[in-house]
């Protein structure tokens, strides 16, 4: 029996992009379904009744929610594929990778959102904290080619999706991320050379337009 894999997603979602990258890395064929978050499909509500959010990966009828958990699932299920595992093999390195991925979700997402939705002092404060958070990740990268070490891995997947949002953050916050975190931007560009990343990340201009649309919709201009 061949696998049936469906991904419920939204083009500009960095969480969805993570899953797209992982599926591409593993060479998994799947059906992509774009959701309209203003009008969620009954199928999405059925598959993720707890949070009603995307992405949701549905594998042979079983729904898996939360992007980082989906990455672990993909790595565990499609582990005999041609590509190397996403998570490190050593338990401590796995714990470290999970820690930093969790940090990305705790800090980078919220601060980034504050950056593009707030103004004035609030925005400046968010900008500073955002840069500090990225600098910590840059420290974790060190002189390695990837956050996963010599090979592109789970933590790279977790963070690189945000690269598609850098342009929007920079335009809204009126600053340059590369100026503060050149090594991190270099790392992101290195990741973009991978086909799985390049074809999974949203166009930064489209992401920026998406934020403009949301700002207008919610009166945040």
């Amino acid at each position: 029996m061949s696998d049936e894999v469906i991904l419920l997603d939204v083009y500009a979602s960095m969480f969805g992009m993570r899953v797209r990258i992982a599926l591409a890395e593993k060479g998994v064929e799947y059906e992509y379904r774009e959701e309209d978050l203003g009008n969620k499909s009954p199928f999405l509500l059925q598959m993720n009744p707890v949070y009603k959010k995307i992405p949701v990966l549905i594998h042979n009828g079983n729904p898996i929610c939360e992007s980082l958990l989906i990455l672990e699932y993909i790595d565990e299920v499609w582990k005999d594929n041609k590509s190397p595992p996403l998570l490190p093999s050593d338990a401590y390195h796995r714990a470290t990778a999970r820690f930093w991925a969790d940090f990305v979700d705790k800090k980078v997402f919220d601060l980034g959102r504050r950056l593009w939705t707030r103004k004035g002092e609030e925005q400046e404060a968010a900008k500073k904290e955002f840069i500090d958070a990225l600098k910590l990740l840059e420290g974790e990268l060190g002189n390695k080619p990837y956050l996963g070490g010599d090979k592109f891995g789970y933590l790279d997947v977790a963070l690189v999706a945000y690269y598609s949002w850098f342009y929007a953050y920079e335009k809204c916050g009126n600053f340059s991320i590369e100026e503060h975190c050149p090594k991190l931007v270099a790392w992101a560009k290195r990741c973009m050379k991978k086909e799985s990343v390049a074809k999974s990340l949203a166009d930064p201009i489209k992401v920026y337009e998406f934020t403009l649309m949301l700002k207008k919709k919610y009166g945040l201009e």
Binding site: V50, I64, L69, E72, E76, A91, Y92, A95, R98
Partner: protein, 217 residues
């Protein structure tokens, strides 16, 4: 120096989770009590980003965040499994554990707040508990026949949340509206290694009574 050290505070459900995991695997460890109002240099060195407990040291490995530590314990030591083997069941267990941690702050606040805010938090808490109640249908534990990741993560509900019910006089979770969860809590707390990792109920209630008076003054 002991091979495994845990930095914690006696009243933290997050710290107790780590201890439960270690005890399940019969791992000996040294416990170091922290004073959160006067954090030790070592704690700040081992967890500079969050400055929180629990912190676990294993040889030279430093681990933080209770759920991450539990996965590490499961991977490193033999013994009863904390996570299921099947990838879908693992994803489901991790999801529910994260869900509990996500809702924990509201559950906590529901015990302490008043008026309209409290009513709102109680509704939110009951919605979260309903999901866990349904999850327990036909099962002794969240992990099935034996205690697993979700049961350990739900220690807060069995020990702390129900403990606060007594001290603050709450009716959020009752036998009537959450029979599965109440049955689970009783079964769960009856386990010897769970019991020894729940803080003394009277001490906890007294501690929170002081905190509550402090919060109101």
């Amino acid at each position: 120096m002991a091979e495994v050290q845990v930095y914690g505070v006696w009243c933290s459900a997050f710290v107790r989770r780590v201890e439960m995991g270690l005890k399940m695997k019969r791992v000996e460890y040294e416990y170091i009590e922290e004073d959160l109002k006067n954090k030790s240099d070592l704690l700040l060195k081992y967890n500079p980003i969050y400055k929180k407990v629990p912190v676990m040291l294993h040889n030279r490995n430093v681990l933080v965040e209770s759920l991450i530590i539990l996965e590490y314990i499961d991977e490193v030591w033999e013994g009863p499994p904390i996570l299921p083997k099947d990838p879908y069941e693992r994803a489901r267990a991790r999801f529910l554990a994260k869900f509990i941690d996500d809702k924990l702050p509201s559950m906590w606040k529901a015990c302490w707040s008043a008026g309209e805010e409290r009513e709102k938090l109680i509704v939110e808490t009951r919605e979260a508990l309903k999901i866990l109640e349904n999850e327990l249908k036909g099962k002794k534990f969240f992990g099935g026949d034996s205690i697993g990741l979700v049961d350990i993560t739900a220690n807060f509900i069995a020990g702390w949340f129900l403990g606060l019910h007594e001290s603050v006089g709450l009716q959020i979770m009752t036998q009537e509206n959450f029979p599965n969860l109440m049955k689970w809590a009783e079964e769960y707390s009856g386990n010897s290694f769970i019991k020894e990792n729940m803080p003394d109920k009277e001490k906890l209630v007294a501690h929170y009574k002081i905190l509550k008076t402090g919060a109101q003054s």
